[in-house]
């Protein structure tokens, strides 16, 4: 006979879930607290992205400051001039700018630095403004010999408004401090801080001579009748021929939106890792919870509840707490969102609003519920196997999790979910697979390392240690321990931060190494041919060596195997790089290979007789990019003279050195007499000498620019510091999740610990001894977790050093040790603070409860 169908509906299941959760609600909340941080991170990032998208939309015009910008890096040809003039006819206003790198000198203290000089004519920007202190300086500097100087430069050289700054041969009065210009962000000003001067004063500086590397920008403002995008698409092919790039508000919006969408996706993945960590915490806590509920489940089954009903009761509880945790996470995320514009300020070209994004909150809550249920399913599906026989006696006849086919389905679902989430963020199968495999591998590796360490401790248990030490250590493998999950969570956070430190250290070390011993560490460039001997003399007069002098000639590649840019444009089936044709290249000519170069194919030819075809050498990556082979013929336009050449060899170049390297090298005897400028390399022993030579060069040869290793290092350090701050901020979510899992785990095992402590106290243990046992337990836990994290980071950075950066692996052991100590100390402090209640509880209270 079949039993009649049950009459209980969802309402009863919800009622039972609610009843069953009594006395457990605070514990249930603790379980889910682990996901709060992850959800908060994601909601903050989603909201930030949402606001960023809106702000980019609203402020797109201020990103470029005009309706249309034309940009070229050479003086306009007659045809180019004609285009600009034709657009000028359509415009309300036009501004012109010439920008280039040059040395400047602060005359008050003699400080010199390479900056981006922006000579501006007209009323640009038309949208937004040059934000300056004082405010009026943004327009006032255009009247007469005045300059706007970037705030970082002002700080660096302790300059004041009203001081003088020498640009080329002219001294400008500093009219104001430049806070922000359209399209600039903290990173771009670190690399190339700007000095604005009036365009009318540029010729007097003597810096815009023939051969100078100047970028020309034309800013147009239209009235409502001209569609900038339509205009650009109409002029597209002619702009391409003239090598003029264009930007409109819409194109800028698209490009900025795309690059920040990438950043947002990356950040979402970092937040997602914190959420995954939290979910493993939830799964582990629910596992203990369900184990404790075994008896109640058995009673319900005994009274006639089906396996599905019992399963659903606890699933509803998880849904409820998942919802609550996600909601709290979403609220916290909305608060954290207010911080993100500060964290990311150096990367943002627009000012960010902090509106509440309901869509992001909904996404966060939905994701939180789904992921908490998904990860809780692993312990929940075991309910199906709990037999009602447990009411009579404890039955251990439950199939192990690995023998239950449903468990494997849940594992599959989890991996599928990680894959799906990553796919939405990364939008590429290979990247998604790499991320998913990386996450799974990292978790498994951490988990395996944690288990290995724990089993080693068990195996080689120090039986001779004092009782307190042994008890503290053995607490790590107490029943229902959460050691492995804590090691994974705290270890992953530590690994993140440690890896970041190591990579930062490595990148700095790479640059430092590149200029070790007798390598050059200062480059003087833009030296005119007529100045070459005098500059070299000046360097020698300062007791410095001239390590190398290199001529540089700007050439244009006109044809590859007879195919010109026009041919390529007409026939897209031709196998040549359209971008390479007509593009400018800075090349040199020399007889010998430098020690940073190695021939990989063909034969190096260093000299040819006049009239013979030029046998050129191409850098391998460049050759690949423009798709040429050894023996192919190339045609160059060298400042108006056509020079045919044959590809003679390919070279591998070590770009890491502070020295001039080239994509293409001519042999001596072909372009030796073409207009050229020169680069001189030297080695300065210290900062004082560096400052002295820079001052001398700027005073005598204002057009000559200087880069020294100190500048490269300080820029690199500043950029890495800014990126590092963001990554540390995001990595902090993982560490924080680790600590929340730790707090939750202490609370979850509170009752069990209370009973143990009561027993120990009954047997005469003092409060101090109990504290010592607890402290030692967390000391071991913190040590194992941070050790595993640092160890993984060391492996990761070793792999990066050997396979990617190709530098000797020399980890910063002191920083790693400090990190190890601080993570361990934090673990001990958090563990102890949360155990106070357990240790301070009077024994009788527990004994009475047990009786």
């Amino acid at each position: 006979m079949q039993p009649s169908p049950y009459h209980t509906g969802l309402a009863w299941l919800v009622k039972m879930a609610w009843r069953d959760s009594r006395r457990n609600r605070s514990r249930l909340f603790l379980f889910v607290s682990s996901i709060i941080i992850g959800i908060a991170a994601l909601v903050a990032i989603y909201s930030f992205g949402d606001n960023l998208e809106k702000d980019i939309d609203n402020q797109a015009a201020t990103l470029i400051g005009a309706d249309l910008v034309l940009h070229t890096n050479r003086i306009l040809t007659d045809e180019g001039e004609a285009i600009v003039d034709s657009i000028r006819q359509l415009s309300q206003s036009v501004s012109e700018e010439q920008q280039f790198a040059s040395m400047v000198m602060f005359q008050r203290n003699g400080g010199t630095r390479l900056v981006q000089v922006r000579a501006l004519g007209g009323d640009f920007p038309y949208y937004g403004e040059l934000e300056t202190i004082p405010q009026a300086a943004g327009t006032a500097f255009r009247q007469g010999q005045q300059a706007l100087v970037d705030k970082t430069l002002m700080l660096q050289f302790d300059a004041q408004v009203g001081d003088s700054i020498k640009v080329g041969s002219v001294s400008f009065a500093i009219a104001g401090i430049l806070q922000r210009a359209p399209g600039q962000n903290g990173i771009s000003t670190s690399v190339a801080p700007a000095v604005f001067i009036p365009l009318a004063d540029l010729p007097a500086t003597g810096l815009n001579q023939k051969g100078s590397r100047i970028n020309y920008d034309y800013y147009f403002q239209f009235d409502g009748r001209v569609d900038a995008d339509a205009l650009v698409s109409e002029l597209d092919s002619i702009l391409e021929i003239q090598r003029i790039d264009s930007e409109t508000i819409a194109s800028q919006k698209r490009e900025t939106g795309r690059s920040f969408a990438d950043m947002n996706n990356f950040l979402s993945l970092v937040g997602f890792v914190a959420l995954l960590l939290g979910c493993i915490g939830v799964s582990s806590a629910i596992h203990i919870y369900i184990k404790e509920k075994l008896h109640s489940i058995a009673i319900l089954r005994c009274l006639g509840a089906t396996a599905l009903q019992a399963f659903l009761i606890y699933l509803i509880q998880v849904l409820g707490i998942g919802f609550l945790g996600s909601l709290i996470g979403a609220l916290l995320g909305t608060l954290i969102q207010q911080l993100l514009p500060i964290v990311f300020r150096d990367f943002l070209p627009v000012s960010i609003s902090s509106e509440i994004s309901w869509w992001s909150i909904a996404q966060g809550v939905g994701l939180g519920i789904w992921i908490s249920v998904l990860f809780a399913l692993l312990p929940l599906i075991r309910i199906r196997n709990f037999t009602p026989l447990n009411t009579l006696r404890v039955s251990l006849d439950i199939p192990h999790i690995t023998r239950d086919k449903w468990s494997w389905m849940v594992y599959g679902l989890i991996i599928l979910f990680i894959f799906g989430y990553a796919f939405l963020q990364l939008d590429g199968l290979v990247e998604t697979l790499t991320f998913t495999a990386g996450v799974v591998a990292a978790f498994l590796l951490l988990y395996a390392a944690a288990n290995l360490l724990i089993s080693l401790v068990r195996r080689f248990f120090p039986a001779s240690w004092s009782y307190l030490w042994r008890q503290g250590l053995s607490n790590l493998f107490r029943p229902n321990n959460q050691t492995a999950i804590l090691v994974v969570a705290i270890g992953l956070g530590t690994a993140f931060i440690a890896l970041l430190f190591l990579v930062q250290h490595m990148l700095i070390a790479r640059v430092t190494l590149s200029s070790s011993e007798n390598q050059p560490n200062m480059v003087l460039f833009d030296i005119q041919s007529a100045q070459r001997a005098d500059v070299a003399r000046l360097v020698r007069d300062q007791q410095l060596p001239v390590l190398d002098e290199v001529p540089i000639i700007t050439v244009q590649l006109e044809a590859i195997n007879g195919i010109t840019a026009d041919d390529a444009r007409r026939d897209s089936t031709l196998e040549v790089s359209r971008r390479a044709l007509g593009g400018e290249l800075r090349v040199t000519y020399r007889e010998q290979l430098s020690d940073s170069e190695k021939i990989t194919a063909g034969k190096w030819v260093g000299r040819v007789n006049e009239g013979s075809p030029a046998i050129v050498s191409l850098e391998t990556d460049y050759a690949e990019r423009i798709r040429v082979k050894i023996g192919d013929s190339l045609l160059f336009n060298v400042q108006g003279v056509r020079v045919p050449a044959v590809v003679g060899s390919f070279r591998e170049v070590d770009w890491n050195r502070v020295q001039t390297n080239f994509r293409l090298i001519f042999p001596v005897g072909v372009i030796d007499h073409a207009p050229q400028f020169h680069v001189l390399m030297t080695r300065v022993p210290d900062e004082a000498t560096s400052a002295r030579i820079q001052q001398a060069v700027v005073q005598q040869f204002p057009n000559v620019s200087i880069i020294d290793l100190g500048l490269i290092l300080s820029i690199l350090d500043e950029i890495l510091e800014k990126i590092g701050f963001v990554i540390r901020f995001m990595g902090g979510f993982s560490i924080l999740t680790g600590f929340v899992v730790l707090i939750a785990s202490v609370m979850i095992s509170k009752y069990q610990r209370m009973r143990e402590n009561v027993l120990l106290r009954t047997m005469g243990a003092s409060r101090r001894q109990l504290l010592a046992i607890t402290a030692l337990e967390y000391l071991f836990l913190g040590l194992i977790a941070s050790f595993v994290g640092v160890f993984l980071a060391l492996i990761g950075s070793w792999a990066l050093a050997v396979f990617s950066f190709e530098v000797p692996f020399a980890p910063d052991i002191v920083t790693m040790a400090l990190l190890l100590v601080s993570v361990t100390a934090s673990t001990v402090i958090i563990g102890l603070l949360n155990s106070r209640g357990v240790i301070n509880r009077p024994p009788l209270e527990i004994l009475r409860r047990d009786s």
Binding site: Y6, R19, S21, C302, G304, L392
Partner: protein
């Protein structure tokens, strides 16, 4: 009289340490409707296992059990849960109340599971019958052992079971409370005409039933009527 429980050639074996351990051998007996029976025997004799099998908490290895005309060993676990809900009541040695439910809610659970609408009224009436009308909103932890067992008995009778299984119902109680519980159990059993099968170590309690099945080493040693049964 109709047969309430029929146990036919039942044996039960478990796998333990990779080996098969037979805990019940060839058990046969029948219990008539509205009768009372006690299963007694030393620890490890298989009494509780037998009780669990009779109540459909586990499956037999061989043989069959028929409960109110339903062959249990043909049913799935969920089907057996349905049988338990409609035909069976339980009283356990350690009460087995759901700790997060109040006394009243504990009594209501079997009724709610079968979708009864007047479950609360019936539970209140049972609460009154077991003398705990004023303790309905207390949680198990707030009740004494005797009170918890009375709630457990009320819950067992809430679904008007055809058969009631009791596993050492007084095993955790002092003598006075035990006496009170026994009286309550037998009185309710008599009122409702329920079949009562109990497992006990207590010869006095066993003597109050109509029949005693004595077990040893997983087999029935004797199956005899008591004086109560004879009378």
């Amino acid at each position: 009289m109709a047969i309430s429980l029929s146990v036919n050639q039942v044996s039960k074996a478990y796998r333990s340490g990779g080996q098969s351990l037979t805990v019940l051998h060839d058990i046969n007996f029948e219990i008539e409707e509205a009768s009372t029976a006690a299963i007694i025997g030393p620890s490890g004799s298989g009494k509780t296992t037998l009780l669990g099998l009779c109540a459909g908490l586990d499956r037999v290895t061989t043989g069959s059990i028929v409960l109110n005309g339903i062959v249990l060993d043909k049913l799935t676990e969920d089907e057996r849960a349905g049988v338990r809900n409609r035909h069976v009541g339980f009283v356990f040695q350690n009460f087995q109340l759901l700790p997060t439910l109040t006394a009243l809610e504990n009594i209501m659970v079997p009724l709610e599971l079968r979708g009864e609408r007047n479950g609360k009224a019936k539970a209140l009436s049972l609460l009154d019958k077991v003398g705990l009308a004023d303790r309905g909103h207390h949680y198990p932890l707030q009740l004494s052992g005797g009170e918890q067992q009375r709630i457990s008995i009320a819950r067992a009778f809430s679904n008007s079971p055809k058969i009631l299984f009791a596993d050492e119902p007084t095993g955790n109680l002092d003598a006075d409370t035990s006496e009170h519980i026994e009286r309550l159990l037998f009185a309710l059993n008599e009122d409702t005409g329920t079949t009562l099968v109990l497992v006990t170590h207590d010869p006095e309690l066993a003597a109050r039933t109509q029949r005693v099945i004595r077990m040893k080493g997983g087999a029935i040693l004797s199956d005899t009527p008591t004086q109560t049964g004879n009378s």
